[in-house]
């Protein structure tokens, strides 16, 4: 100090050099720092709900097997912490050579809603809202326009002048919901199932708006599920308990179907209206139905190419 600045007043440099320029600089620096702190302050809030590991997690398709194992271990621990349930979160991948399709026999569906309930329980939906991926529409006879349906019917079913149209995700081959996602948090897998990475979803709800079948659901609040009612048999892309603020949808119960089992809604159906299978298997039930029954798809004119069929017999 002394050697570089000879022969000057020995008072403090701040007092000595307190020019207008310096004051302005200082003021702006303070302002800038304040703005920076304000800008990152949401992160402090986020840190309460989100661990750093969760925040730094990559997209599902870019995770290495080790990272996936860590993510799953973390999610299992979080479920244990929040819901007190010991769950197993698997990472079920598509079975090579399968393309899942669903068919519903509208001649026998009587709108009893057991599928809705089964979905609610199987997929760890929020208990307070009775959330479910399935909506059963009571339809006036003579139309397939699902906008004319009503979901508020009650009492004894079926009613004589109505038929019943269960609607859930149609797993479209041209899914508009996937097209609109700004962050690619939803995509179509090789077996035809459209999935969501709940940890990548930003909750913008574009997909919900884009879906012509009203098949997507938004988690307005943290799902409340009693410990005893948690379905411990979970999968990362499927029925693990979802975080608040993300969109979710029917996955054809991929945690069951990718292990060869039938979807929960199908097993619950007391009328036997639901049929599920692999359309690539020539001998499958579903192939026989598509070849031999009068088959309809919903909103065909939109060109979404659903993997979900309705038939009459």
């Amino acid at each position: 100090m002394t050697s570089t600045e000879p022969s000057k007043n020995r008072s403090l440099p701040i007092v000595e050099n307190f020019t207008r320029r310096a004051a302005v600089k200082g003021a702006f620096a303070t302002l800038g720092a304040g703005a920076f702190v304000a800008a990152i302050s949401p992160l402090r809030q986020a840190a309460k709900n989100t661990t750093a590991a969760e925040f730094m997690q990559q997209h599902y398709t870019e995770l290495s097997p080790e990272q996936k194992a860590d993510v799953i271990a973390r999610l299992e621990a979080e479920t244990k912490e929040k819901y007190g349930a010991d769950v197993t979160i698997a990472d079920d991948r598509p079975i090579p050579g399968t393309k899942f399709v669903y068919a519903i026999n509208l001649s026998v569906c009587n709108g009893n809603g057991k599928c809705v309930e089964a979905c609610h329980k199987e997929n760890n939906h929020d208990r307070a809202t009775n959330q479910s991926y399935i909506r059963v529409l009571e339809m006036p006879k003579g139309t397939m326009d699902m906008e004319q349906g009503s979901t508020t019917y009650s009492g004894a079913v079926p009613k004589d002048d109505k038929f019943y149209l269960p609607v859930q995700c149609q797993q479209c081959d041209e899914p508009p919901c996937v097209d609109v996602c700004p962050v690619k948090a939803t995509w179509k897998e090789e077996d035809g199932i459209v999935v969501v990475d709940y940890n990548w979803c930003i909750g913008c709800r574009y997909c919900e708006a884009a879906c012509p079948y009203h098949a997507r659901r938004f988690n307005w609040k943290e799902p409340e599920v009693p410990t005893k009612e948690i379905n411990p048999d979970q999968s990362y892309l499927s029925n693990r308990v979802r975080p608040v603020g993300v969109v979710e949808k029917c996955t054809y119960c991929l945690h069951r179907t990718r292990r060869g089992k039938l979807p929960a809604c199908l097993e619950a159906c007391p009328t036997g209206a639901r049929v599920f299978g692999n359309i690539l298997d020539k001998d499958s039930n579903i192939r026989w139905i598509l070849e031999n029954k009068r088959v309809y798809i919903l909103k065909e004119e939109l060109g979404t190419k659903p993997a979900f069929f309705y038939y009459f017999d």
Binding site: I14, N17, F18, A22, A23, K25, G26, A29, A33, F36, T51, A52, A53, M56, T61, E62, S64, P65, E66, Q67, K68, A69, D70, R74, A90, D91, R93, A103, G111, N112, G113, V116, E117, H120, T129, N130, Q131, S132, T151, T152, S154, G155, V157, P158, T257, R259, G260, K261, L262, L266, C269, P270, T271, G272, V275, G277, N278, N285, W288, D313
Partner: protein, 239 residues
């Protein structure tokens, strides 16, 4: 004074950097980072193969092995009639159909319960206009009979039903009627199916009405406001 501004700026930069480092360190310790992590991530990405669940290893061998069966539930056997009275020991009992019917002459003409003078009178019958002995066997009351007169057991009741309801039988054989449980993929597990009389009462076979229990409470289920809008829209269309 410039030095203070610079120091302040440096401080902010250091703070940011340290926050970033802490975040990375935390994720690193959680994830138990390895040197090869990036390489593996790339490999996984290219091949599209993720972590296989543990069950995969178990099920691979079975996939090539024999197929599991489709198990169709069967009735347990001929019906038994519960007796109203009790024996001296206080036990209730049940008897076979043949207990009475072997000593009574069959009335091959009878079609409804209303024309019976005793027994089976409360029974509802709504199955076309067929006679009792179209399906029941006058020669052996503990079995049924087919249209050609041959005997068929109660366990194989589906053979009997399929004589007339061949369309349903065909649909059933292809999974399009009657529902199922278990596995869609028979190389991984069996499938269970109902038989006709699990759902249909043979004497009044139309499927019963049901009561809707469970309803989601979403915006599509909000009461009446929506209906009101539709009415308004409809009246606008008329004008």
């Amino acid at each position: 004074m410039p030095r203070v501004a610079n120091l302040f700026f440096a401080g902010v930069v250091c703070l940011t950097a340290s926050m970033f480092l802490v975040a990375v360190w935390q994720s690193g310790t959680r994830a138990n980072l390895q040197n090869t992590r990036d390489d593996r991530a790339q490999v996984a990405q290219q091949s599209g193969v993720g972590l296989q669940p543990a069950k995969d290893a178990d099920r691979k061998p079975e996939a090539d092995a024999t197929k599991y069966p489709v198990i169709i539930r069967k009735p347990s056997g001929p019906p038994r009639i519960e007796l109203g009275g009790t024996d001296p020991q206080g036990r209730t009992g049940s008897v076979a159909c043949s207990t009475c019917h072997s000593v009574r002459k069959p009335n091959l003409e009878n079609k409804t319960a209303a024309t019976l003078d005793e027994f089976h009178q409360g029974m509802t019958f709504n199955h076309g206009t067929i006679a009792c002995y179209a399906c029941h066997n006058p020669g052996d009351s503990d079995a049924l009979r087919l249209a050609d007169g041959s005997t068929v057991t109660y366990e194989n009741v589906m053979t009997l039903c399929s004589q007339c309801h061949s369309k349903q039988a065909e649909s059933f054989a292809h999974g399009a009627h009657g529902g199922m449980n278990g596995h869609w993929d028979l190389s991984r597990g069996p499938q269970m199916k109902n038989n006709c009389i699990d759902c249909h009462d043979p004497h009044a076979p139309s499927y019963p009405k049901m009561i809707v229990g469970f309803k989601p409470k979403d915006r599509f289920n909000e009461p009446s406001i929506d209906d009101h809008d539709h009415e308004g829209a409809a009246s606008h269309d008329e004008h």
